[in-house]
């Protein structure tokens, strides 16, 4: 018994001694720092820049075996495993579609890409006659930004009220206003049509044919049906920081079968912002999702919905 106690005491003295003296040895071998890696962009669009035709083929001919890898390899010499931690860090930047010229000077980013896609427009309007939902392809990707008919007026369209807080009401409100104006406009234009050159606008003639049709409007029930339908397909990743900055407007040109032929994100200048781009992609997915085709639109009012502007406003959705 005494022995046990003595032993115990000694043991504890030992433990204490270790605790007092041996502090640094408490640590196991530290985890090895993982080696760094390098990366490079693998993107077909990148190649497209060098050889425009390729780009077209890439977007039009599904089976064309592109060799993006071979291409990119040329760009970046086989990098040794250890180097360039900054390159990894840089990863997020080059991520955006290569159209934006990853390694180009950052500045021109926003405006630059737009003029460039000369070849694209060719692709864009190409609404393959096939009834399949194929053609969307051309329109969809942010970079190729088709914008065939998109005239200046869009910018001038200050309709979208600045961020309001009692959204629904105000939205409905503005919607109604829009509709009213449209109608009034139609009437006016009817009058104007008969007379020579409209004082202002080029875009007016286009509207003309519609107005000639039959100036009806979608009933609020019809609008609601479409909203209710698209709500099922609009999947917005929750948790974004400033949802008020992520309101996306898309112009949709419809086919007569009530599926979208083209989808164009209106504020495309903002696509370089990764958050906006993600929101735009989500909006596009909502419109192109076959689960929501055909759109619930009254077939007899095709003249009204042949071109639509849909606004995806996530403010109410995100908490």
């Amino acid at each position: 018994m005494q022995h046990g106690l003595l032993f115990s005491s000694l043991l504890h003295i030992g433990v204490v001694a270790v605790a007092v003296i041996g502090m640094p040895s408490f640590f196991d071998p530290p985890p090895v720092a993982s080696p760094v890696m390098t990366f490079e962009v693998v993107s077909q669009e990148e190649i497209a820049q060098e050889e425009a035709p390729e780009a077209v083929s890439q977007t039009t001919k599904p089976q064309e075996p592109d060799e993006p890898i071979a291409e990119t390899k040329r760009n970046v010499p086989p990098p040794p495993p250890p180097p360039a931690p900054e390159q990894v860090a840089a990863l997020p930047e080059p991520t955006p579609e290569a159209v934006q010229e990853p390694e180009a000077i950052p500045l021109p980013k926003a405006p630059e890409p737009e003029p460039e896609p000369e070849p694209e427009p060719v692709v864009a309007p190409k609404p393959k006659p096939k009834a399949e939902p194929e053609p969307q392809r051309a329109v969809a990707p942010p970079p190729p930004r088709p914008a065939p008919p998109r005239p200046a007026p869009k910018k001038a369209e200050p309709k979208k009220d600045p961020p309001k807080t009692n959204q629904l009401a105000s939205l409905l409100d503005s919607l109604n206003k829009d509709r009213e104006q449209v109608q009034r406009g139609d009437e006016n234009r009817k009058g104007a049509a008969a007379q020579p050159p409209a004082p202002r606008l080029d875009s007016q003639p286009k509207a003309e044919k519609k107005t000639l049709d039959r100036p009806v409007k979608l009933s609020s029930g019809e609008m609601d049906a479409l909203r209710a339908q698209l709500r099922q397909c609009w999947n917005f990743p929750a948790g974004a920081k400033n949802p008020e900055d992520l309101i996306v407007e898309a112009r949709v040109v419809m086919r007569s079968d009530r599926t979208p032929a083209t989808v164009e994100i209106l504020d495309s200048g903002r696509l370089s912002d990764s958050f906006y781009r993600a929101a735009a992609d989500a909006a596009r997915r909502a419109l192109l999702n076959p689960a929501c085709h055909p759109f619930k639109l009254p077939p007899d009012k095709a003249s009204l919905w042949q071109t639509m502007i849909l606004t995806f406003d996530p403010r109410e959705m995100l908490q």
Binding site: F26, P30, S34, E40, V42, Q44, A156, R231, A279
Partner: protein
């Protein structure tokens, strides 16, 4: 002007005005505003990364599995069952037949290729938008084969960013306190693991009580509280070298440490004569600065990401509440006003929210509120939830949850993650019980 009747000047004017107003809308487009949608996992097909030889294929399968698991756990993605895939994987390296993927319900497709040659691992992936039939992004990486998990995490991060716009958080680690033994004789050791639980490793041997580890936002360092020699003090530990040191030479107990956003200083509480106040110590110069001077308990301080403000926990109002002050200690104001007690405020790395522990009425919650105290939302509830830590992108939190202990001191402590919606709540597996998790920044 061939309006009916005589064109009165007034009518003319009216016409002009209307025309002007209407011009922008001249095309009479139908406008539809969508303000409601769903927030559910996006169905994504992750095809096994292709390899030209067996070794590469094997590596490809492993990388793919990690990516699938990451995406699934994020709650933003649902992995489409590979058994349903129609198109051959090898052919994917060329270009997907989108119809084949659309028909199985995928909205996005991830394909890739892996090449292992000697000491080099090359991996590339492409993220495809199935509906738009376009490549959303594609990147290629090269590293040593042993680094394959990081490749998988980095690829997961790239995908996450493409879909959400926000940086990912998969290439990160968690340091936490591993616990063994009954409630009243707990042995605690620091441990570190990847965000998904892989590469688990103990950092201390359990002979000394260690608590509340926190990552440096800029270096591979951890600051934590240890009871070496029964002197509770704040320590620094370099994970790479294992080197550690006590932070400062204070006359009393230091605790509740956290790094400043620039990693240059540590903010902590110092207890003297029964009173805890908040101090910072600049690490390079060792200069100490006192920020609060109040007879109440001031603790659990956390900087805003811009370094301009500090949120902390104080009972100066009579019970534990959350306060915010300027980084120099001025302009203190209380921000929590709900029922119950509020504790452990932690500022989100993206600055928009403060996460906290709230308790009262026998339950604990993890919640978030804006830095002005508005918009409080509770994300979890249990017998004891405590100590939220933010993913570097500010969209996900980890915390620990403890179950009640029986008379033998048997209870369970475990680490959980939850996203900002509160819907994606998941337990993070650890070899033993775990508490006090701290999320690292993205690994540089």
């Amino acid at each position: 002007m061939t309006l009916k009747g005589a064109p009165s000047p007034f009518a003319l004017l009216l016409l002009l005005v209307t025309a002007f107003v209407l011009v922008p809308d001249a095309r009479a487009q139908l406008r539809v505003d969508i303000t409601q949608g769903v927030s559910e996992p996006i169905p994504v097909a992750v095809a096994n990364f292709h390899g030209d030889d067996l070794g590469s294929q094997d590596m490809g399968a492993q990388i793919t599995a990690v990516i699938r698991s990451n995406l699934e756990r994020s709650g933003l993605f649902r992995s489409v069952d590979p058994a349903a895939f129609i198109q051959d994987i090898a052919a994917l390296n060329i270009r997907p037949r989108f119809a084949d993927w659309r028909v199985i319900g995928a909205q996005a497709l991830i394909s890739g290729k892996v090449t292992v040659t000697g000491s080099t691992l090359e991996a590339e992936f492409r993220l495809w938008d199935i509906f738009a039939e376009s490549q959303m992004t594609g990147l290629k990486y090269s590293t040593v084969p042993s680094n394959w998990r990081r490749i998988a995490h980095i690829i997961s991060d790239a995908i996450y960013k493409q879909i959400t716009g926000e940086n990912g958080y998969f290439d990160t680690r968690i340091v936490y306190v591993s616990e063994t033994g009954p409630q009243n004789r707990k042995q605690k050791r620091l441990a570190i693991m990847d965000q998904d639980g892989a590469n688990h490793q103990y950092l201390t041997d359990g002979s000394t009580l260690v608590l509340t580890p926190r990552f440096s936002p800029t270096t591979q360092e951890i600051t934590y509280l240890a009871y070496y020699n029964n002197k509770p003090r704040v320590y620094l530990l370099n994970i790479d070298t294992g080197q550690q040191e006590v932070v400062g030479d204070f006359p009393g107990m230091t605790f509740a440490p956290r790094f400043s956003p620039d990693g240059r200083s540590v903010i902590m509480s110092l207890a003297q004569a029964g009173n805890s106040d908040i101090y910072t110590m600049d690490l390079p110069t060792r200069r100490v600065r006192r920020l609060t001077n109040h007879p109440a308990i001031d603790t659990s301080a956390s900087f805003s990401p811009d370094g301009q403000f500090i949120t902390f926990n104080s009972d100066r109002g009579g019970s534990q509440q959350i306060y915010v002050m300027r980084a120099d200690g001025s302009d203190v104001r209380r921000i929590s006003f709900g029922d119950g007690r509020y504790a452990t405020p932690v500022w989100s790395p993206r600055g928009d929210l403060i996460a906290f522990t709230k308790f009262g009425g026998g339950v604990f919650h993890i919640g978030v509120m804006r830095p002005d105290g508005s918009g409080e939302r509770l994300l979890t509830q249990s017998f004891l939830d405590e100590a939220p830590t933010w993913a570097p992108n500010g969209r996900v939190l980890m915390f620990y949850r403890q179950t009640p202990s029986d008379s033998q001191g048997r209870g369970k402590a475990s680490i959980w993650s939850v996203d900002l919606t509160g819907r994606n709540l998941r337990e993070i597996g650890t070899p033993q019980d775990g508490s006090d998790p701290a999320w690292s920044p993205l690994i540089p």
